[in-house]
C-alpha cells in the first residue's frame, strides 16, 4: 500500500469533490497539479494585504510587494540550488522559458551549419522553438536514437554529438514515457564540444530534488502549475555568464535602463528579461508551493512518485490487450498505455464516468507518437497526493472499459 504523503482532504479542497457520484481520482498531474491551501492562502493574502506593483514606487504597499517578489525569487533559487537569485527569470511557464532561450540565445549564437541535439520524445515546447530557430539561423537538428523501451543511451548520444553541436535540449523526465534522461552525462559530452545544455524540467522539478550545478545544466525551464503553484508562472534559470551576454526579446516596463526617442539600454539580469508587470501573485504562489513541497521533502516525493509509476507500470503490463510504454525501471510518475481496439479518447470517457481523470491524446509529443507508431495514448500520472488505491481504481476502470467496448 502506497499512501499519500499529506492529509489530502485537509490540504486539497478539490479532492472533497464528487464527480458523477464518485470521489475524484485525479491522475492527470502531469498536465497540471492541484493547489494546496497554503498556496491559495498566500496569493489571497497578497491581494488582500500588500497588493501593489513592484520595482516602481516607494510607498509601503509597493515596498512590501517588491520584497515579497524578491523573496519568491530567492525561494526558487534555493530550491534549485542556483548560485544567485539573479539567475532566476520569471516567465509564464516552461513554454515561454524555452522560447526565450531559443530566441535569445539561439538567434544570437547559432550560425548556419551549427547543430542542435534533441530527442524524439521532447514535448512540442522543447522541439518547435528549436525547429524555428534552426529555420531562422540555418542550424541543423540532430535527433538522438531511442532504445526500444524509449530510453536514451549514452552511446546513442555520442553518435549525434559533434564539434558542431552548439545546443542540446532535453527533458529530464519524459511526460509520456516516464523515462529519466541522463542529463549529467549528456551535458558533459555537450560541454566537451563547447555547447550548452538546455534542460526541460517541466516534469522533473515537481518530482525530484533539483540541483542545477550538479545537473551540469546551462539553462533549466519549468512551470509553477505542475508543482502545486498557480497557472501563469514559470521559471527560466540560466547561468549568469550566459544571461549577461544574451539580448532581451521583449521590451518595455522595468527591463530598461535608459530610453530616448531613438534608442534604449537594458537593466541588469534578471529584470532585463522581465519586461512589463510580472505575475507578482503568481511568483508569490509559486514560492508558497515550494515551501509546501520542501516541508514534505523532495526526496520523499521523488521516492513516492517513482513507486507509484513503477507499480502502475507493472500492474498495467499484466492486463491482456493493454500496452504500456517506456522503461520498467526507473519509471517516473507518468504511465502511457493503450488498449487494443479502443481509442484513448474513449478510454478517458469511460474513466470520467467513474470520476477518474486521465489524459488521452498525443500529449504534445507527436514525434514520439510517430516513433511509437500510435496516433495517441492514454496517460495516467501521479503526485504525492495519490495512493496505490488510485491505481486499483485505474485497473478496475480498464477492465470495465474493455467490457464496455468489447460487448
Amino acid at each position: 500500500m502506497i499512501e499519500p504523503l499529506v492529509d489530502v482532504s485537509r490540504d486539497f479542497p478539490i479532492f472533497n469533490r464528487r464527480i458523477n457520484g464518485y470521489p475524484l481520482v485525479y491522475l492527470d498531474s502531469a498536465a497540471t497539479s492541484h493547489k494546496p491551501e497554503p498556496v491559495l492562502a498566500a496569493m489571497d493574502q497578497f491581494y488582500r494585504h500588500s497588493n501593489a506593483n513592484v520595482l516602481r514606487s516607494v510607498h509601503t504597499l509597493a515596498e512590501e510587494a517588491t520584497t515579497a517578489y524578491a523573496r519568491a525569487r530567492e525561494t526558487v533559487s534555493t530550491f534549485i540550488a542556483a548560485t544567485d537569485p539573479k539567475e532566476v527569470i520569471f516567465t509564464r511557464g516552461t513554454t515561454e522559458s524555452l522560447n526565450l532561450v531559443a530566441r535569445s540565445f539561439g538567434d544570437q549564437f547559432l550560425r548556419a551549419g551549427d547543430e542542435i541535439v534533441l530527442s524524439p520524445m521532447e514535448h512540442h515546447s522543447n522541439l518547435v522553438p528549436w525547429q524555428q530557430v534552426a529555420k531562422r539561423t540555418g542550424a541543423v537538428l540532430r535527433y538522438i536514437d531511442l532504445a526500444d523501451d524509449g530510453t536514451i543511451s549514452i552511446d546513442a548520444v555520442r553518435r549525434v554529438i559533434s564539434p558542431k553541436t552548439r545546443i542540446a535540449a532535453l527533458s529530464k523526465i519524459s511526460n509520456v514515457l516516464g523515462s529519466v534522461n541522463p542529463i549529467v552525462e549528456v551535458a558533459d559530452l555537450v560541454h566537451q564540444v563547447g555547447g550548452v545544455m538546455v534542460v526541460d524540467g517541466a516534469q522533473s522539478v515537481p518530482h525530484e530534488p533539483t540541483d542545477v550545478m550538479a545537473m551540469n545544466a546551462d539553462f533549466l525551464a519549468f512551470s509553477g502549475h505542475k508543482m502545486c503553484g498557480p497557472t501563469g508562472i514559470g521559471v527560466l534559470w540560466g547561468r549568469a555568464e550566459w544571461l549577461a551576454q544574451m539580448e532581451p526579446i521583449a521590451f518595455g516596463g522595468e527591463m530598461i535602463s535608459y530610453v530616448d526617442r531613438e534608442m534604449a539600454t537594458w537593466a541588469e539580469v534578471p529584470e532585463k528579461f522581465e519586461g512589463g508587470t510580472p505575475n507578482i501573485a503568481g511568483a508569490i504562489g509559486l514560492a508558497a508551493a515550494i515551501d509546501y513541497l520542501t516541508a514534505i521533502g523532495m526526496d520523499k516525493i521523488c521516492h513516492h512518485s517513482q513507486a507509484l509509476g513503477e507499480h502502475a507500470f507493472d500492474a498495467l503490463r499484466e492486463i491482456s490487450g493493454v500496452s504500456v510504454y517506456g522503461p520498467r525501471r526507473p519509471h517516473a510518475a507518468a504511465v502511457a498505455f493503450t488498449i487494443d481496439g479502443i481509442h484513448p479518447h474513449d478510454i478517458a470517457q469511460v474513466f470520467d464516468s467513474k470520476a477518474i481523470a486521465i489524459r488521452a491524446g498525443h500529449h504534445c509529443a507527436q514525434p514520439l507518437m510517430q516513433w511509437l507508431g500510435v496516433g495517441s495514448t492514454a496517460r495516467a500520472s501521479f503526485y504525492f497526493y495519490n495512493s496505490s488505491n488510485d491505481i486499483d481504481r485505474l485497473l478496475d476502470a480498464i477492465l470495465e472499459t474493455k467490457r464496455f467496448f468489447q460487448r
Binding site: H343, H345, D346, S353, G361, H362, M369, G375, F404, R407
Partner: protein
C-alpha cells in the same frame, strides 16, 4: 449522464462496422483534417458529378465518436446534392449545440449525447468540417 446515453447502440454499430471506410479511386475532391487535440486524422474522398455526391469514402484513425460520425455522414450524403449535404452538415453542427434540426439527421441523431462534452464535439464534427472544406474548394 450515463455512458450508454453517450455511446448509443447506433454509434457502437457504426464504429464496429463503419460504412464507406475506403479511399475512392477517382475522387473529385479530397480533404484531410487533423483533430489537433488528440492527433486524430481523417481523409474524406468525394466524387461529385453535376452537383450530386455520387460516391464518398473516408479513411484515417480516431475515437469511436469521430469514426462513427464519419460513417454516418457518408451514408447520409451519398446520392444527395452538394447543397443538401452542406445543409446537413450545418444542421448537425447546430444540433450539437442544442438547436433542433429542420431536416432528418438519420443515424447522426444518435450523437446527441456528445453535446454534453464540449471536447468531444470536435470529434463528432471532424468529418462534417472536412465535408464543408471539400465542398468549398473550387
Amino acid at each position: 449522464m450515463s455512458l450508454d446515453d453517450l455511446y448509443r447502440e447506433t454509434i457502437m454499430d457504426h464504429n464496429q462496422s463503419p460504412r464507406n471506410r475506403r479511399s475512392l479511386e477517382h475522387p473529385t475532391k479530397t480533404v484531410g483534417l487533423l483533430n489537433p487535440t488528440c492527433g486524430d486524422q481523417l481523409k474524406l474522398d468525394l466524387r461529385v458529378q453535376d452537383g450530386m455526391v455520387v460516391d464518398v469514402g473516408f479513411t484515417g484513425h480516431g475515437c469511436s465518436i469521430s469514426m462513427a460520425s464519419a460513417s454516418m455522414l457518408t451514408e447520409a450524403i451519398k446520392g444527395k446534392s452538394t447543397d443538401e449535404a452542406l445543409a446537413l452538415a450545418r444542421h448537425f453542427k447546430a444540433f450539437l449545440t442544442g438547436t433542433p434540426s429542420p431536416v432528418n439527421l438519420g443515424d447522426l441523431e444518435a450523437l446527441q449525447g456528445v453535446s454534453q462534452f464540449p471536447s468531444r464535439v470536435k470529434c463528432a464534427t471532424l468529418a462534417h468540417n472536412a465535408l464543408e472544406k471539400a465542398l468549398s474548394q473550387d
